[in-house]
Symmetry: C2
Subunit: 347 residues, 2 copies
């Protein structure tokens, strides 16, 4: 099953807001439907948002029948799609690429112009798929035989154009028959593990077990786990990793139990402007995500909540960082410097 | 506010099923109302169940107006109250005490007989209060000045006849002005932290903050916490502690960050038949507690769940075990042996 796909002039995508209870696909040739899908999280995950926006741009320009109206259509599509999720950097990168492609072929015949835009959107998608595949291959080679892996949050096909990052590692190891089982944290407060990762692993037929976030420690103590694999939101020059809150605790526990802690992320996650993790600002989530489940209050009125969206894992607690370019081992400063910014076109 | 209280021939108790949204008290002179309250968790927490059952026994015998009917009433009350929560050891201990008291004064005039039963129930309640007070005093002395404490699950007045165990330590430190702030884990899956501890700390006016279970690690890393205080379900001869799942992870994190890990529990929690924690059976909870919130499914159909009710923290990760008899430091084997079983009458 493909989460997003170009099919004969239309875009077909999975409505993630209905997961895991229903698998509803939407097929549309209307960029407004795509923009709305991004806004309401039907299409989510930074790389997937970029891919969706690129296809949305194609749909918008496909409607144009008069070459003189192309510039206005570009302007309209850019405003529409860029206003959906203002903080997703991949969205803006994808739209920049689409606009550059449009500018380059502005004087071509209209049909050729449209084909170039589609080719660019397909390239953005394909590059993301290739990035996922490379991460999966590099990462799977790191796992022990009969690997029993703990993972956190959602890092798979629902967030990227391919197999994902940490979940690509897991899926590749399953294909190579070196993976035995996956334990996934439910990932409070937003339950991405319970809702999305559980669904993805079931789709892939990978034996997996759901648990509360505080159960992982006990699994490790009992010797039931031999690797932790997670994604990353941002990685600094010294290899400090910002990722979904709970990652740092897993890293300390992995260290205590002598279990490898593996981070899988594209090189686009590397922030070459930051020396270490203390420079990463910590986004605070709305307390209601903790005090309420849906609209039902579970904690008393007026309780104060501390809910950082992510935490910082220092590089020295990480065994390996896997990107599409290969595997880096601690200490990370030199291998990260050698990656050179901008070498990858991945979103 | 008292969670359970004898008032002029009646029992008054807080209906905990309505917390934290409503504070509803029930006043009754009917033992069937008490038995039902225990069964539906309106009265919960092992020591509190014992106290509730003792008062229920008094109410049942108070109805008797003919001395010849006392033996049958004792039999009926015992069966009614002991069938409410079959695994709560405190319930059976309390009923044994009430029956022994009844047997001792069976030949006394009916009014005197009833007074002796009431005195015994009040004694059970008072002893539990004294136990909590002593734990609070011993434990508060261990906390650093301007203590910022992480706690887990619910260990307070809602579970005992007094101020609780870990929460008694926290309440006493607040009274002594050595406590600055409490961070409480929400405690998945049943949310005792979010629902009950948050409510109790608000009642006590203690500054407190709610967080997801996986946020504690990040707090420790940032140096925002200087002690962890938790309760215990069972303690073995070498000081291994079974407590709500998540406790072991907190202990590893506390060790990693050089923060004291304090366990507060009555001596009745000590199991003198078990040499170490590996002998404690691990109760598995129903997976629905993880896959559903209330009746709403959040994880996909058919997902496998691993949900141990508690975990085992080895004694070497615990800085101190506080009981009503005082403070024990690691290694615990000798001080625990010196406690001698049965010395305390606490439930």
């Amino acid at each position: 099953m493909r989460v997003i796909e170009w099919r004969e002039g239309s875009l077909r995508f999975l409505d993630q807001t209905r997961l895991p209870l229903e698998e509803i696909f939407v097929t549309t040739d209307d960029e407004y439907v795509v923009a709305d899908a991004i806004k309401r999280l039907a299409i989510r995950g930074a790389p997937l948002i970029g891919i969706g926006a690129a296809y949305g741009f194609v749909l918008a320009l496909n409607k144009v029948t008069d070459a003189s109206k192309v510039p206005a259509a570009i302007e309209r599509a850019s405003i529409l799609l860029s206003s959906t999720r203002p903080t997703a950097v991949n969205l803006f990168r994808a739209l920049e690429r689409m606009k550059a492609e449009a500018a380059a072929f502005m004087s071509a015949p209209l049909l050729e112009f449209k084909l170039h835009l589609l080719e660019e959107a397909l390239a953005i998608h394909r590059e993301d798929e290739a990035m996922c595949r490379a991460i999966g291959e590099h990462g799977a080679a790191l796992l022990p035989n009969a690997a029993v892996v703990v993972t956190h949050c959602n890092t798979g096909r629902l967030a990227t154009g391919g197999e994902g990052t940490a979940l690509a590692v897991i899926a590749k190891a399953w294909e190579l028959r070196t993976l035995k089982h996956v334990y996934m944290d439910e990932t409070r407060p937003l339950m991405q593990g319970a809702r999305l990762t559980a669904w993805e692993l079931k789709q892939l037929g990978i034996p997996s077990t759901l648990m509360t976030d505080s159960t992982a420690a006990f699994l490790m103590q009992r010797g039931l786990v031999n690797a932790v694999v997670v994604g990353a939101d941002r990685i600094t020059l010294n290899g400090d990793v910002a990722n979904k809150v709970g990652t740092y605790g897993l890293a300390v526990l992995a260290k205590h139990h002598g279990i490898p802690m593996i981070v899988a992320a594209p090189t686009s996650t590397l922030d070459f402007t930051l020396v270490n993790g203390s420079e990463i600002p910590i986004e605070q989530r709305n307390g209601k995500e903790v005090t309420h489940i849906g609209e039902t209050r579970i904690a008393p009125e007026g309780v104060e909540v501390y809910s950082p969206a992510f935490d910082i894992t220092p590089g020295e607690l990480i065994s390996a960082i896997v990107t599409e370019q290969g595997v880096m081992q601690y200490p990370f400063r030199d291998p990260i410097k050698r990656l050179r910014p901008g070498r990858s076109r991945a979103l």
